[in-house]
């Protein structure tokens, strides 16, 4: 499977994606601009609370081509962050009160400067929480990655990994043939060095997102089920399960349209709008950095090329804390994905 970009799909163009999202309002939902919905609960314009999390997208290169990927990542994507941009990120982490650095991609570990970057972040602060969003299979993809669990442990990294289900067929249907078995092997390696093991202080969180056009289950109940099934079936342990709703952009939007599920899915997201989740959306305390250093309200806005509305501070090299803290967050129809039901963020449910 190739990326949408390599297929020269119209949906690899963010302007076209936004047109689709704005134009195809489901029948009976005419008055449903997301901004209007926020206005109704006195949250528009949406403003940041404070900047606590710097989420850094280290590149679109990935060893997997997941069907739902909002980044349209894959082996054919060559856009990765340079050491120069990483240096600017380090300056921001050093100078501002960043509590969490969240490294994502693609597969961030495939960036040749990944280990240097992690080491430098840890040198700045022993207490900053460093998250690596690891797709698991990268650990077993090549011998040079086999020691990643040790590297993560040495630098006190929190590992967050996608595992859409505790069975092979549902996992592989979303993430590719053989991904489940490789993920289990990688989880065994992470457990072996202490990740997810009680009392180790090494955190391993898993991410569930639905393998299709439906909403995620209640986080607490599904976490219990995952823990039971992974323990009994594979003797694996982990800390928390995050449930994440698939947002209707990029490959997931392509899937929704091609499978005839788009309209019903949007209806579901809109009708499940939850004001509590809206107040807790992650863009209020996060800045997302693109592989080329541009700044965004979240990873989804990054993929839609909606740069932060902060004059003179749209690039990591020009970071202006005041301008970013006072900016208005850009909201579009895809934002309904973060406010539906129990809410959704990179840290799971929000209400």
């Amino acid at each position: 499977m190739k990326s949408l970009k390599a297929q020269q799909s119209k949906l690899s163009n963010s302007t076209y994606e936004l047109e689709v999202l704005e134009a195809n309002t489901p029948t009976g939902f005419e008055e449903t601009a997301f901004s209007q919905k926020l206005r109704g609960i006195n949250l528009y314009p949406l403003k940041p609370t404070q900047i606590e999390i710097l989420q850094i997208n280290m590149g679109k290169m990935c060893n997997q081509v997941c069907k739902h990927c909002h980044v349209d990542a894959g082996p054919d994507r060559k856009e990765i962050m340079t050491q120069d941009v990483m240096q600017h990120c380090l300056d921001v982490i050093r100078q501002h009160d960043v509590k969490t650095v969240d490294l994502t991609g693609g597969a961030p570990e495939m960036n040749p400067n990944f280990r240097w970057f992690v080491t430098e972040i840890r040198k700045i602060s022993q207490s900053v929480n460093i998250i690596v969003r690891c797709n698991l299979t990268i650990i077993v993809a090549n011998p040079k990655y086999n020691d990643l669990p040790e590297f993560f442990k040495e630098h006190q990294i929190e590992v967050v990994s996608s595992l859409p289900y505790f069975t092979a067929n549902k996992t592989d249907s979303q993430r590719g043939d053989g991904v489940f078995d490789k993920s289990i092997r990688a989880l065994e390696m992470l457990n072996a060095v202490g990740y997810g093991v009680e009392g180790s202080g090494l955190t391993l969180n898993l991410v569930y997102n639905p393998s299709g056009a439906f909403m995620p289950a209640a986080q607490d109940a599904l976490e219990l089920e995952f823990k039971k099934r992974l323990k009994n079936g594979y003797n694996l342990v982990f800390n928390s399960l995050y449930t994440i709703t698939n947002l209707p952009i990029s490959r997931f939007l392509d899937y929704l349209i091609n499978s005839g599920n788009y309209e019903a899915y949007m209806e579901k997201l809109i009708s499940a709008f939850n004001p509590v989740a809206a107040a807790n959306v992650m863009c209020r305390n996060t800045i997302s950095v693109g592989w080329d250093g541009y700044l965004f309200d979240c990873d989804f806005n990054q993929m839609l090329d909606l740069k932060v509305a902060a004059e003179g501070s749209q690039h990591i090299a020009d970071w202006n804390q005041a301008a970013l803290t006072n900016r208005e967050i850009i909201v579009k129809q895809h934002c309904y994905g973060c406010t539906a039901g129990a809410g959704s963020s990179c840290g799971g449910a929000t209400s």
């Binding site: 289900y165 069975t167 067929n169 549902k170 569930y208 639905p210 299709g212 439906f214 909403m215 995620p216 289950a217 209640a218 109940a221 599904l222 089920e225």
Partner: protein, 110 residues
């Protein structure tokens, strides 16, 4: 083409209150209470509902509880096992009546 069942009609379920509100309100309140987490989990109740939907062969309920069980984190194997429970009870209900047939046949036979 006109059909008796239209998937779009499921969304209008709440409108039954347009013709008789007090009873509809009571029903939907009760319905909501039934499916809340209780001595049984919401997930278990959803699987029971899926099985019953097949036993009563309600197309609306089958659509609704296929979605709902998936949204409760069930997989296809679990969903199919629930339908087999419905099928086993339906099949068993026919077959257990065979004892009546046998009684009658024995009564009439020499």
């Amino acid at each position: 083409m006109k059909t008796y069942y239209n998937p779009e009609d499921l969304k209008k379920f709440g409108k039954i209150g347009d013709f008789q509100k007090p009873l509809a309100d009571k029903f939907f309140d009760y319905y909501g209470e039934v499916f809340k987490e209780g001595a049984l989990t919401a997930r278990e109740k959803s699987l029971i509902a899926l099985a019953v939907a097949h036993a009563i062969q309600c197309p609306y309920c089958i659509d609704a509880y296929t979605t709902d069980t998936m949204e409760k984190g069930c997989d296809e194997e679990q969903m199919m096992e629930a339908v087999h429970v419905a099928a086993a009870i339906r099949g068993g209900a026919s077959l257990v009546h065979a004892t009546q047939m046998m009684n009658k046949a024995n009564e009439l036979s020499m």
